[in-house]
Structures are given as structure tokens and as C-alpha cells.
Amino acid sequence: MKVSVQREDFDAGVEMRALSRDAKVGAVASFVGVVREVAMTLEHYPGMTQKALERIVEEAKGRWQVMDCTVIHRYGELAPTDQIVLVVVASAHRGDAFAACEFIMDYLKTQAPFWKKEAAGWVEARVSDDEAAGRWNGLPGTRKLG
């Protein structure tokens, strides 16, 4: 498992290949978040961010068959088309890989302490993000992530 909070850009291809070297891996699902339209500065809570992301990954591992996982989230100044976040999940089969990848992104959006600021001001949190994270609750054998 790799969790990194960094200023630098990342290479999704390199990260994905790194998770497909185990011959037991049959599926690698990934998500890349990209800056849309306007430049922004991403602030985070240095002491907490890494821990929060690791906790989300652990939660995903408890729910699905996750063989390995990489999460990279950038902070600092980012321009349109810059990559912001990468989630890669390796599993034996696609169902687990897709679900865990989407779950990690949904929870990251509501649980990881990052804040976006644009020239027009701070970006407001969206209710739809809470709803997206909330739909994972109440599934059989699941519990709410604090």
C-alpha cells in the first residue's frame, strides 16, 4: 500500500504498472482527478492528511478483496489540466477493483482534510459529495467511517 501527499506531479501509468506485477492480480482500476477550468491552491492539514487517507484505504481493504492500493494526492498551486489525485486499486477481479476505487474517492472527498481555494474564494463543499459517501453506509457488513 502506498499513500503519498505531495506537491509533485505523478505518472499514473507508472503507478498502475507497479500494481500489476503480482501474477495474482487480474484487475487494476484507477481514477485520476484533474483541475477543471480554473487555477487553484490546495491547502491540507499536514499531520492528519496521510493518516486519514491510510484509514480510508484500510476501510476499503476490509470491504473488498484489495491486493494492493496506491493513493497520491497533491497540494499547493495547481493549474487547469493539472492532475490532483490518483487512486489505483489492484485486485483479482474487476468488481472489487472498481468498487474499492470508487469508495476510496467518495470517502476521500468527505474525510480527507484538503481545501481548494480559487481566485474567487474558497470552494464550498457540495451536498452531493456527502450523499456519494453516504451511499456506502448501510451495505451488509459495513460500518460508518467516523
Binding site: G47, M48, K51, I84, V85, K109, F114, W122, A125
Partner: protein
């Protein structure tokens, strides 16, 4: 008892400080009570931490509910709902 309090993003800007050490008065023993205590400073504090404002909290770097109990040496953080990803 003393706790460390941190403020992030819009809240840090509105309050004009990234954080402080606070000696808690008797009776201030939870995250919610601390927020209410800070609101009592008036001005920007009253506005930014008003009950109508969505403010999240973390206790020792884990998301914490308002009822979370405080202990000496704790690190409490207040911030707006997160917007990463």
C-alpha cells in the same frame, strides 16, 4: 488544562490565525464546548464559529464529533467541510 487548537482554510483566514495554545476554563471539556468558548470572544470568532456555520473538527488528527471529550495536551482542529479530490 491546555490544548493546542488549529484553524484551516477559510476559517484560518476569517480568524486571522493558524492556531494557538489555549488554557481551557473549567467546564470546557468537549469539542462543542471549546467551539462555544471560542465563539464567546465575539467579532470574527462569533461569526466564523456561529452555530449556523458548517464547521468540522478533528481531535488528535482524526475527525471528531462535537461530543468528543478533550484531555490535556490534545490537538483540536476546526475547519470548513473538506473539498479535496
Amino acid at each position: 488544562m491546555k490544548v493546542k487548537v488549529l484553524y484551516f482554510a477559510a476559517l484560518r483566514e476569517q480568524l486571522g490565525t493558524p492556531g494557538e495554545e489555549i488554557e481551557l476554563p473549567a467546564g470546557v471539556g468537549t469539542v462543542a464546548a471549546l467551539r462555544s468558548h471560542l465563539r464567546g470572544r465575539g467579532g470574527a470568532w462569533e461569526l466564523a464559529l456561529a452555530e449556523t456555520k458548517l464547521v468540522r473538527a478533528a481531535l488528535n488528527q482524526d475527525m471528531a464529533p462535537p461530543a468528543a471529550a478533550l484531555q490535556a495536551g490534545d490537538e483540536v482542529a476546526f475547519f470548513p467541510p473538506v473539498t479535496g479530490g
